[in-house]
């Protein structure tokens, strides 16, 4: 049963919204409204997601049979490289921060806009310029470095457009820096009267932790990719062993960004889940400050574990031991969150609306992804499964089962706020279910394949692996259906969806006190906050008194 039980007569679309405040192409491309910029990001990353997804489907198609039939190895190398680069840098990193964070963060803290609206708009343009560079490399023949750009392969041995692809990723990184900088300053300085740090919704805490990581880690990626580009273009030897350089140094510098970057990708998901679980359990979040501080702890520890990607790269045994230990430690704050979400649901009055279905899927799949991460933190096991499908499955359980489901959960949750319309509940629940089944069918067999020893990044394999590969490919097509469905019914809902009203889920939080869609400056009057976040108990009491 949906929680939206308000009588339809009371609901009509508000007259003045951010969508009809002005019209025309210029009013979008020169907008400084964080809500419109969020929509522009939504459209861009959705198209990049479709492109990355297409690459994945072609890979799974090739892997149906042991022998190469559709593609040769050179094309296959390009497919997984373009899939990885697109999904990581042009979808996952900006997904929740630049779309949902951009849209709801200022409203959650009661601000009229972000601190730097022009910088926010600039970040979208920088992101698109980066995308132009990288996609020009795709179009002019593709890139086959893998998403990690490992040297000396990327600098000395490939004839593809590595420089353009790497520079594109570097430029898009600055968009991420600008978003993070904007969120940090906004959270510090733009909160409404009464909105203290410990009254902030946990989504804001997550975004704050993410922003700190973005601001500190992304510049290191920028300089690393500049070094790759310069080394390739001018034949210098920073990472080239023939000239005295050290290729392992590249791995250190790359993972110094890219390990924190997996937290850039998953922490926003934690924030979304922390909003959804209390709302659909009708209960205050269990252990607010533990959840808030665990986000910050993940942000800090995320910087200290990077070399666990390099256990086989020839780093010393002692440093490997330290990085292994730190990697085990970083599991603790993530586990705190999972336990707190579960404890929030305990004795709650749980409603299985679509966002909650995605959120429950998230908790289960992220837990599997996280625990298999601990297998990989153990050096002995890691030696066995390095560069196998076990790693691929682990990563996808966290990034797709975790982050993508959280993104979809959040997109459904705030869709009524963004558009003023409800998505069709039945279709949405079906899509959530199909996604969950398709996902597990795709990636669970890959754990088994990896443990049996099938290496990643090959287009052919011994015939004994075929059954599991067929299962995985079949799952990928189910998953594709589940992921395509929301695009159709959400577009449908723009015209035909039910009018949502201010607060269709009876959720707490300032964003639900304003119109859906919100007016151009978010609130008609500056809100004043007098209560803690997630006060569902007194909301329940009010409803009992009224009803």
């Amino acid at each position: 049963m949906s929680t939206a039980t308000i009588s339809p007569a009371a609901l009509e679309m508000p007259r003045d919204t951010y969508l009809n405040a002005s019209y025309g192409v210029k009013s979008w491309f020169l907008t400084k409204d964080h809500k419109r910029i969020a929509i522009m990001y939504l459209v861009s990353i959705t198209s990049f997601f479709l492109y990355g997804g297409l690459m994945a489907i072609m890979m799974r198609l090739e892997l149906l049979t042991p022998q190469p039939d559709l593609f040769q190895s050179d094309v296959y190398n390009k497919l997984f490289s373009m899939h990885g680069i697109t999904m990581v840098f042009f979808f996952l990193v900006p997904s929740i921060p630049a779309v949902l964070g951009n849209f709801v963060l200022p409203m959650m803290i009661g601000a009229r806009d972000l601190a730097f609206p022009k910088v926010n708009l600039a970040s979208w343009y920088i992101f698109m310029i980066g995308a132009c560079f990288t996609f020009s490399a795709y179009i002019s023949g593709g890139v086959d470095t893998g998403w990690t750009f490992y040297t000396p392969l990327s600098t000395g041995y490939l004839n593809t457009h590595v420089v353009a692809a790497a520079l594109g990723v570097m430029i898009a990184g600055f968009a991420s820096i600008f978003t993070g900088l904007n969120f940090i300053v906004t959270t510090h300085r733009m909160r409404a009267p009464g909105m203290t740090w410990f009254r902030l919704p946990l989504f804001v805490w997550s975004m704050y932790a993410v922003s700190v990581v973005q601001v500190l880690a992304t510049p290191v990626l920028a300089i690393t990719l500049i070094l790759v580009a310069v080394e390739r273009a001018f034949h210098i030897g920073i990472f080239n062993p023939a000239l005295g350089g050290d290729p392992v140094l590249f791995q250190h510098m790359f993972w110094f960004y890219s390990h924190p970057a997996v937290y850039i990708m998953i922490l926003p998901g934690f924030g979304v889940i922390s909003e959804i679980i209390p709302c659909f359990s009708r209960k205050r979040i269990f252990g607010y400050s533990a959840v808030a501080f665990s986000s910050m702890a993940i942000g800090v520890f995320g910087f200290l574990v990077w070399a666990h990607h390099m256990f086989v790269a020839g780093i010393s045994t002692y440093s490997a031991l330290v990085f292994s230990l730190l990697t085990f430690i970083i599991a603790i704050p993530s586990a705190i969150k999972v336990f707190n979400w579960t404890a929030t649901m305990y004795k709650g009055s749980i409603h299985f609306d679509t966002p909650m279905l995605y959120a429950l899927g998230f908790i289960g799949l992220f837990t599997i992804g996280g625990l298999t991460g601990l297998f990989l933190a153990a050096i002995g096991v890691d030696m066995h499964v390095t560069a196998t499908y076990f790693v691929v499955a682990h990563f996808h359980y966290v990034m797709v089962g975790g982050m993508l489901l959280a993104y979809l959960a959040g997109l459904h949750f705030w869709w009524p706020k963004i558009t003023g319309k409800m998505y069709p509940e039945a279709a949405a629940k079906l899509a959530a279910l199909i996604t969950f089944i398709g996902f597990n069918l795709t990636f669970f067999p890959q754990f088994v394949l990896g443990y049996m020893g099938m290496p990643r990044r090959y287009h052919s394999y011994p015939p004994e692996y075929q059954v599991l590969n067929v299962l995985s490919s079949a799952g990928a097509s189910v998953l594709a259906v589940g992921l395509l469905m929301p695009m159709f019914y959400m577009l449908w809902s723009l015209k035909y969806g039910e009018v949502a009203g201010k607060n269709p889920y009876r959720a707490t939080g300032l964003e639900w006190t304003t119109d859906s869609p919100p007016p151009a400056h978010n609130f008609h009057e500056t809100p004043v906050v007098t209560q803690e976040a997630y006060d569902y108990e007194s909301l329940l009491q009010e409803e009992v008194e009224v009803g």
Binding site: R112, P117, H188, L216, I223, T508
Partner: protein
């Protein structure tokens, strides 16, 4: 309800220079400076990658770093350091002039900063040119011959080839620094034009202050680059 809305705090009477997302000019100024400091933190991380690479290779190839360092002009480097420190002084004076509302002084000090920045870049260009002529630019034409010094044996061939790592870092670090200087010069031109138009009254000169922070930051990067690149073991008896 997480909150109740009141009409208590709705200051919509905005002065002209106040952007609509802020309540007061103080908040606006505070936010701009806060943002600038965070931007400088990202810059530290950006240069941090290069400093990290420098640290590792200097430990690996110390003799090559000494040989490379000895081949660059300490005279030009020292002059440039002095030029840059002077430009920081004129920049600080420019911020002060803006604070007291002295428009002509502001324009004068901004122009002085601009000229000193250009002098720095000019001298840097001369140094780069010297390196180019000596085939010390890493790449296909790289060729390092140790200059003869009385009483000392020339460096062995493997050390000579390792100097390419030193020169790679030299050009990347000073090049990234020079790029920041060029961006600074461009912004300075815009600021001088705006100051000439009277855009910085004493209550609204955050842009000058923020640019001052940027300029000082770029100077500080140089203060680290100078000893790391120019002053490695300059006294022969030390090793």
């Amino acid at each position: 309800m997480a909150s109740d809305t009141t009409t208590l705090a709705a200051p919509h009477h905005h002065p002209e220079s106040l952007h609509e997302q802020f309540d007061t000019l103080e908040q606006q100024k505070d936010v701009a400076q806060f943002g600038m400091w965070i931007f400088l933190v990202t810059e530290i991380m950006f240069f941090g990658g290069l400093f990290g690479a420098y640290l590792i290779y200097r430990n690996l190839y110390y003799p090559a770093f000494v040989a490379g360092s000895n081949s660059i002009s300490i005279v030009l480097g020292t002059i440039n350091t002095a030029v840059l420190i002077c430009s920081s002084l004129t920049m600080a004076m420019a911020v002060h002039s803006a604070a007291i509302g002295a428009r002509k002084l502001l324009i004068f000090f901004l122009t002085a900063t601009l000229l000193l920045g250009l002098v720095f870049l000019g001298i840097k260009g001369v140094e780069y040119h010297d390196k180019w002529v000596e085939h010390h630019v890493p790449g296909a034409n790289f060729h390092f011959v140790d200059p003869e010094r009385p009483g000392e044996a020339p460096v062995p061939a493997d050390v000579a080839s390792q100097t390419s790592i030193y020169f790679s870092l030299y050009f990347l670090m000073t090049g990234m620094h020079a790029l920041h200087m060029c961006i600074g010069v461009g912004i300075l031109l815009a600021l001088i034009w705006k100051a000439y138009r009277g855009a910085f009254p004493p209550h609204h000169y955050t842009m000058i202050e923020n640019f001052g922070l940027y300029w000082h930051f770029v100077d500080i990067i140089w203060i680290f680059l100078f000893p790391l690149l120019y002053l490695i073991s300059r006294t022969p008896q030390m090793h």
